[in-house]
Amino acid sequence: MGIITTDNLVFEYIRRDENGDRIGEKRAIDGVSLDVEKGQFIAVLGHNGSGKSTMAKHLNALLTPTGGTVLVCGMNTADDDSLWDIRKSAGMVFQNPDNQIIATVVEDDVAFGPENLGVPAEEIERRVTESLKAVGMEDHRADSPNHLSGGQKQRVAVAGIMAMKPECIIMDEPTAMLDPNGRKEVLETVHRLNREEGITVILITHYMSEVTDADRVIVMDHGKVAMQGTPREIFKRLDELQELGLDAPQATILAAELRRRGIPLPEGILSVTEILEAYRALPEQYQVSDPYKNIPEHIEESFTELKKDEAPLLELEHVSYTYSPKTAYEKKAIKDVSLQIRQGEFVCLIGHTGSGKSTLIQMLNGLEKPTDGRVLFRGEDINERKYDRRALRSKVGLVFQYPEHQLFESTILKDVCFGPKNQGLSEEEQRKRAEGALRLVGISEDIWNDSPLEISGGQKRRVAIAGVLAMHPEVLILDEPTAGLDPQGRDEILSEISRIHREAGITVVLVSHSMEDVAKYANWVHVMDGGKLLYAGKPAIVFSHMEKLKKVGLGVPQVTEIMRGLFPQEKRPAMDFITIEDAVRALCPADGR
């Protein structure tokens, strides 16, 4: 018998009406039987609402089953007497890095668990040192958690669990709120703990790229186990995965596309290395000559000429920004950046956390004022004293990260009216605009009078975006609009934004961490690094700077990596292959004819 077993686990939420009377129940988990062996690395996948988080909470007795049993190290979670032993053996790391750190100093937080268990003082001190070392945070021992990055905070949370000497760590979407570098940091840490300390890991996630190294993958849907097996077995069933609202790494999708066109690649390819090896092993008749040879050497000018005579909609002129100038906390966020955003473009802004992109977008609508340089909208300096910045904000709409956290009205419709109301429009006009905006983001009419707090996460985000669209902006700036959503939610939001861009003719500025999304949607990219503008241009040209982008920790779409791996180039090509369609076209020349 394994370390964690569930037998026909069932969990029902009781739904009550306003008077607290029972009106029904919702089955969140429906007959799940699992058997996890000691030392395994298990990944649980599933879209939001598939029941995966509810199941995780059962594994350390934060919830107890309505039906069936859960055994952790042989202890039944329904048994109150073993509650604390269960929680000690199966530690849990949650999604939000801020909301699980209790103390104001890193080491005090790591000590919190053992303190609760009544461990003697010297032993706690030793465990704290060991745990911080195990997650590579020993240098931050005396720091305040507020000064750490998201990935570092999650590592502290892992250390806090390790200090309780657990058998097993359950992680409930620990990377959902992190940037790519933070995600990598956290995953490397738990893989190491699994390998070196023999800790059993149950990782709940909706990032497919995180499960390729797991021993076993469990896919959940509607509270049931929909698929189960090794990552390879799961990724072979690509179509089923996509039907369940999940995605797959580009390497897997590309391999499947090529197979469909008769190229005999094996099934279940998981990574770039695997597809490279498999492709090289193909018989000669399937190999193609270097497609990079067909790219002209000087392509750059022809693209930058685009719309050159047209005046830019938004422009930054030698802009710098310094936080808390002339104090000990002085920090240069932006250093001499000049860039232009032209009407009708879909512009993406990339750069890792701290590269200055959040500050930059706030300068575009006058929420932040540059320390140096000018910001121009239609050629006018928006920081001139007489310039009407409030009016500007309705023309340059800004949607912050997690915009649903700013919803506050009693109904969806009223909330979306907030912007138009501030513009001083008549009630009739407010309503008209709000309705238009809600239709544009695909919120159906029958929930317009519901509370914006009682709808699903993806819907909330749409309502929040509608709140900005209702002001009829000419530019829509979105700061990571897909953060924290599952793959399906991400796709839906992005294709809606793309549709709004096309149909309503709104210029879009999108901040994104996903190079794949950038390659798919952008027609212009700005790359920020360390407060400076590193590159600006067409995505296919920007991503051809692969080596440099990797060096600053940003990366390129997986497809680009695969193409460069297949056809190594001595010098940088003038442009690159950045989408799956690009790669398929290059690798199956016969297909196009």
């Binding site: 350390n60 934060l62 604390w84 929680r87 000690k88 530690g91 849990m92 949650f94 939000n96 801020d98 909301n99 699980q100 750190i101 209790i102 103390a103 104001t104 100093v105 080491e107 005090d108 000590a111 919190f112 668990g113 053992p114 303190e115 609760n116 268990l117 009544g118 003697p120 003082a121 706690i124 001190e125 958690p145 507020n146 806090g160 669990i161 309780m164 808390s324 706030q362 609508n365 929420l367 409030r390 904000r393 309705s394 709409g397 800004l398 949607v399 912050f400 915009p403 956290h405 700013q406 919803l407 506050f408 907030f418 912007g419 501030n422 513009q423 707090l453 709140g467 900005v468 002001m471």
Partner: protein, 266 residues
Amino acid sequence: MLREITIGQYYPVSSLIHRLDPRVKIIGTLVYIVSLFLFDSFAGLAVAVVFLGALLFLSKVPLRYTLKGLKPILVLLIMTVLFNFFLTPGEVIWKFGVFKITKEGLYRGAFFGCRLLLLILGSSLMTFTTTPVQLTDGLERLLKPLSWIGVPVHDVAMMMSIALRFIPILLEETDKIMKAQQARGADFESGNILRRVKAMVPIFIPLLLSAFRRAFDLALAMEARCYRGGKGRTKMRPLRFKLRDWLALVYLAVYLTAVIILRRWL
């Protein structure tokens, strides 16, 4: 802008005062405050100045930093002095319309001003040299006897330390929500007071919701890490009196006795 407000800014250096047990520092601050109120002459305050000066010197907190900390309460200080100047009855030495300054007023103004100044300097010495966590710890231990009569001392201390952890986070969040609503055209700066209060609704509701969400998450995380109140809990670094702490207590006792004796003459 909200982030720039700091309360009791800890000054991180290593000094004898920094290393003292927080309980000693809390008791010391109380003793010092009592001593300020026992004296009612400038000569008496001079004794307190010597006492405080010595401690400030030992604490290695730069004088400039100490004085900078006084800035926020400057208005209060000036008001105290001025009220005393103008409102104390007695021998008039300067008069302009309804305003008059008396000799007694001058004396009282200067005296109360100095006393208030010393009071604030003394208590900020404690916050300069003690981290909020140590302070909470110290208070929890000092007030422990109250738990015998049913006062939830541990729980209050836990609440205090959680508050310390989340105040900066919520301030940052307030900043973010304000900006987000400004991006939707909200205006917090114009209009009369009623309008401005009304304009705060779009900030307070999301903030409150966020605080509840965080509280819920945190409670779950604490339970998952086996928190079950103060019972059976140990500490990584329990507070223990060392020789220097006992010596400091003796020093405090000597100071208090001296103050009580000197009071008759000064």
